[in-house]
């Protein structure tokens, strides 16, 4: 790696490394620059223009997300010129964003970075523009909803689909004011290379991409509990979003914090219906003399289970017992299962599906 050097950021001297962007350095120095199209998982696009900053010697303002640092450069992130630019820009986005005055309806739980930033930075009031973007109303996929009225074409979703998930199922289609997020032949996502990972929803800054399953649940009413995904062995961290005692949405922690770097797959993000499924086992069952399984109390069921295994041991010895633990259960539970097998029943016949 080549030598680090110094740049000026709002008059302060800051260390920087070759290849870094202005936004990288600003982030490290605690200088806040608004962005919409930026996602640390993606190549910089410089598309949304919210992060424009002044660079001494450059006639035009430059996108902090894509502009690489140079030794001795002098960057200004707050000025009257930048303010003016942002007010016009947010005004244009909001005019094209949604036809109602209030912006996004409150019941839409998706984070709306655009609306928050427009409120914070001030948006010039402009008459609404009715752009003719089309969605895919006939798309029957059960998870991903696209509302073209809320899209600002920052292309985070399509770039995520290309660069991170690498299936390129969605893309910018049409031209000019009709430009939208489309698929080949405007097919439903189930008929494309889409793997329903939902990364497009995760990265969307405007609520144009949302989850069908949790749509309409007020964001403020969700409680998030951090946990670990229960499917494969990657160990993705998840936030289980709870509403009225049920898991209604699963999201990833932000990029950069955990092993999954903000990403989830179709199972981790969406396959949680099983948790509250009506076919879950809910009561202990004991087989009766009639050969059928009957509902029993916990006391009866545990007694019966222990007696049944003890009887086998009395008759055939401890090694006629087998204990199958589970790589689906927790570490503590696996610890207890082998302890049960060894200490309570006296056999090392204890294994789990590691070899399966």
């Amino acid at each position: 790696m080549s030598e680090r050097f110094t740049i000026k950021l709002d008059g302060r001297s800051c260390r920087a490394a070759p290849g870094e962007t202005v936004l990288d350095v600003a982030g490290r120095e605690g200088v806040s620059i608004p962005t919409l199209c930026h996602d640390p998982r993606l190549e910089p696009a410089g598309a949304c223009r919210t992060c424009l900053v002044e660079v001494a010697g450059e006639r035009r303002m430059q996108p902090a997300c894509a502009f690489r640092v140079r030794p001795g450069m002098d960057v200004t992130t707050a000025s009257e010129r930048i303010d003016r630019h942002r007010k016009v820009l947010y005004g244009l986005y909001m005019a094209d964003h949604r036809l109602d005055d209030a912006g996004l309806p409150e019941e839409n739980g998706s984070a709306n970075m655009l609306r928050e930033q427009a409120a914070r930075n001030g948006a010039l009031a402009l008459p609404p523009v009715n752009a003719s973007r089309t969605g895919r109303p006939a798309d029957t996929n059960p998870y991903i909803r696209f509302d073209p009225e809320l899209c600002i074409l920052c292309a985070r979703c399509t770039r995520y689909c290309d660069e991170v998930e690498a299936v390129s199922a969605i893309t910018l289609t049409e031209r000019g004011a009709s430009t939208t997020i489309g698929t080949i032949g405007n097919a439903g996502l189930l008929d494309t290379s889409c793997e329903l990972c939902g990364g497009c929803i995760d990265t969307c800054p405007t609520g144009a991409m949302t989850e069908k399953k949790s749509y309409g649940i007020p964001h403020a009413e969700l409680e998030a509990v951090r946990s670990t995904c229960n499917f494969c062995g990657v160990g993705c961290q998840v936030d289980l979003n709870i509403h009225a005692g049920r898991v209604v949405k699963v999201a990833s922690p932000p990029p950069g914090e955990t092993v999954n770097d903000g990403n989830l797959c179709v199972k981790g993000r969406f396959a949680y219906d099983f948790i509250h499924h009506e076919e879950r086992l809910q009561v202990p069952m004991v087989r009766g003399r009639d050969g059928e399984l009957h509902r029993a109390s916990w006391e009866v069921a545990i007694r019966r289970a222990a007696d049944g295994l003890l009887a086998v041991r009395a008759k055939h010895g401890a090694d006629a017992l087998g204990f199958v633990s589970s790589s689906r259960c927790t570490g503590e539970e696996n610890y207890l299962m082998q302890k049960l097998s060894r200490a309570a029943f006296g056999t090392n016949n204890c294994h789990q599906c590691a070899a399966t």
């Binding site: 946990s227 160990g235 570490g331 503590e332 207890l336 789990q352």
Partner: protein, 527 residues
């Protein structure tokens, strides 16, 4: 994994063998895609032209079950062309001379005959692997689910050791674990040979330690692994079973034998979250909480211990598995301590295993990215890359590995080779994912992938229902004519209870691990 998942994107070469990463480990696949975007070379060895093969610079489409020949031939090239890391071999390994001798017959040309992989591809792969300092090996069940699974792993380890690709960031030996907590289940001692932390049950000193901790005499004889347990059950040697969170009938090979065994049992307890094919045989069914309804930890593929937190209440009267297990132990007359929480159970285990001594629920609250063992003290940050200062065991041993054929090879009656595996949209026995609309919309029923040439010869059209038969059973599935297949090979997912791939599979097990030969059995297919 000797490396960690975040190291993947910085690798310069990925050798992915027997891992359909995009379907079985989608998020690790994202890291691999990132590495390739960053310029890493990707070489895939797999009998199927899987998704990763599409973006690889080279795809070694070997015949199923010929991995040892392929890997030994790579090692042959490295040895004969002088590409070994002699300083590493000298300092950190033993047994190299015997392996060098044993490798001599494994020429790339010989490998081409057996594996079907062109000799030049093998040479180029071996050279690239040996010459790239940050070269990582990634494998999954395509390596282990063979009667020679342990040999496959040894052959890979030989490659790692002779090139010194160990204890280096982004270079190492990386088995990708299939289940959320398969690493943790083994770490916790749910295994017939080891107490928690891989401490041997037949070591008297170790046993004494656990006897004094648990206050009871413990059995000295190692137990049966699952594969052997299933056979012992069928023979009537195992008469009582306690099964927590596994559907044996769907998951184990040669399912009809498993069902014979379950029928033979005098007593069966099942503890699960859904009724399944195995609970039908149960004498007692205990309803358990799922992961969202209880506290604990899972340990992932890169040895990362992470929290599972209770978010919602279990349905009906269902209870956390750990609570049920405590009650079971007490009902059987063992004084299980009165744990107030999963955290206390973890502390008890951590006190018995030096490598986890520094890990606790408390510390995991502050460490949002988890703690990777070995983590021997409360001040230790955890271990991202294993073997950094040389192999943990001192000197790592090379293993001489000779090629053996798979247990069951195709013949006139069963002319095709069947491998089984997973699809992205389902998870193992699919008790969770068959209840999910997206999974069912994308993969709603069983199918058999078959090469166009075999389908044509058998008069089978795409989408047609076919009967697949082996010596052990038969199932119906929809034929999917697929350019991913090798001629002579067919492939089927293992998820579907109404069309069970494991009625077909061979339960001949690896001599060391007992793992069944899910990846190779002989079948016939007819319209």
């Amino acid at each position: 994994m000797t490396n960690s998942i975040p190291e993947i994107r910085d690798a310069d070469l990925l050798f992915v063998i027997g891992s359909n990463t995009t379907e079985a480990h989608p998020i690790i696949a994202m890291e691999m895609k990132q590495a390739v975007r960053n310029g890493a070379r990707l070489i895939v060895a797999d009998p199927r032209k899987i998704w990763m093969a599409e973006i690889a610079e080279r795809h070694l489409q070997l015949r199923p079950g010929t991995d040892v020949w392929l890997l030994n031939a790579m090692a042959h090239v490295i040895v004969t062309e002088g590409l070994t890391d002699n300083a590493f071999i000298e300092k950190h390994t033993k047994g190299f001379e015997a392996v060098r001798e044993a490798l001599l017959p494994y020429t790339p040309e010989g490998a081409e005959e057996v594996t079907g992989v062109p000799a030049d591809d093998i040479r180029q792969t071996a050279r690239a692997y040996a010459a790239t300092p940050r070269a990582g090996i990634y494998y999954t069940l395509g390596i282990t689910e063979h009667t020679h699974g342990t040999d496959n792993v040894y052959a890979l380890a030989n490659l790692v050791l002779m090139t010194g690709h160990l204890g280096v960031r982004s270079a190492g030996m990386n088995p990708l674990r299939g289940q959320n907590n398969v690493q943790g289940a083994n770490d916790s001692g749910a295994t017939p040979m080891f107490y928690p932390g891989y401490q041997r049950v037949d070591d008297p000193e170790v046993r004494l330690k656990f006897e004094s901790a648990w206050g009871v005499a413990l059995p000295p004889k190692p137990g049966l692994n699952l594969n052997v347990m299933m056979k012992a059950m069928a023979r009537g040697e195992v008469r009582g079973m306690y099964v927590m969170g596994e559907d044996l009938v769907i998951s184990e090979p040669n399912a009809s034998e498993v069902e014979v065994g379950l029928n033979n049992l005098e007593f069966l307890v099942c503890q699960d979250i859904f009724p399944n094919e195995t609970t039908r045989y149960a004498d007692v069914i205990l309803p358990a909480a799922c992961f969202a309804e209880k506290d604990g930890v899972f340990t992932n593929s890169d040895r990362r211990v992470q929290r599972v937190r209770k978010a919602v209440e279990p349905p009906g009267e269902a209870r956390a598995d750990w609570e049920i297990l405590c009650d079971m132990a007490r009902a059987a007359g063992y004084l299980m301590p009165p744990y107030a929480s999963a955290s206390e159970i973890y502390d008890e285990m951590a006190a018995l295993v030096p490598a986890y001594a520094g890990i606790s629920h408390e510390r995991l609250e502050e460490n949002v990215a988890g703690l990777q063992w070995p983590c021997p003290s409360a001040e230790h940050p955890g271990t991202e890359t294993l073997h950094l200062g040389g192999p943990l065991i001192g000197k790592a041993g090379f293993q001489v590995v000779q090629y053996r054929e798979s247990d069951e090879l195709p013949d006139g009656e069963y002319p095709l080779v069947l491998s089984t595996g997973r699809v992205l949209y389902h998870y193992n026995a699919a008790t969770q994912t068959i209840r999910e609309p997206g999974s069912m919309a994308k993969a709603g029923r069983n199918f058999l992938e078959i090469h166009r040439r075999d389908a044509g010869r058998l008069g089978i059209e795409d989408g047609q229902m076919v009967t697949v038969a082996s010596r052990r059973g038969q199932v119906q599935a929809e034929a999917l004519i697929s350019p991913r297949m090798r001629p002579g090979c067919v492939w089927m997912p293992m998820h579907f209870a109404d069309s069970r791939a494991n009625l077909l599979t061979n339960d001949a097990g690896d001599a060391v691990t007992g793992t069944g030969e899910y990846k190779v059995c002989a079948v016939s297919v007819r319209a």
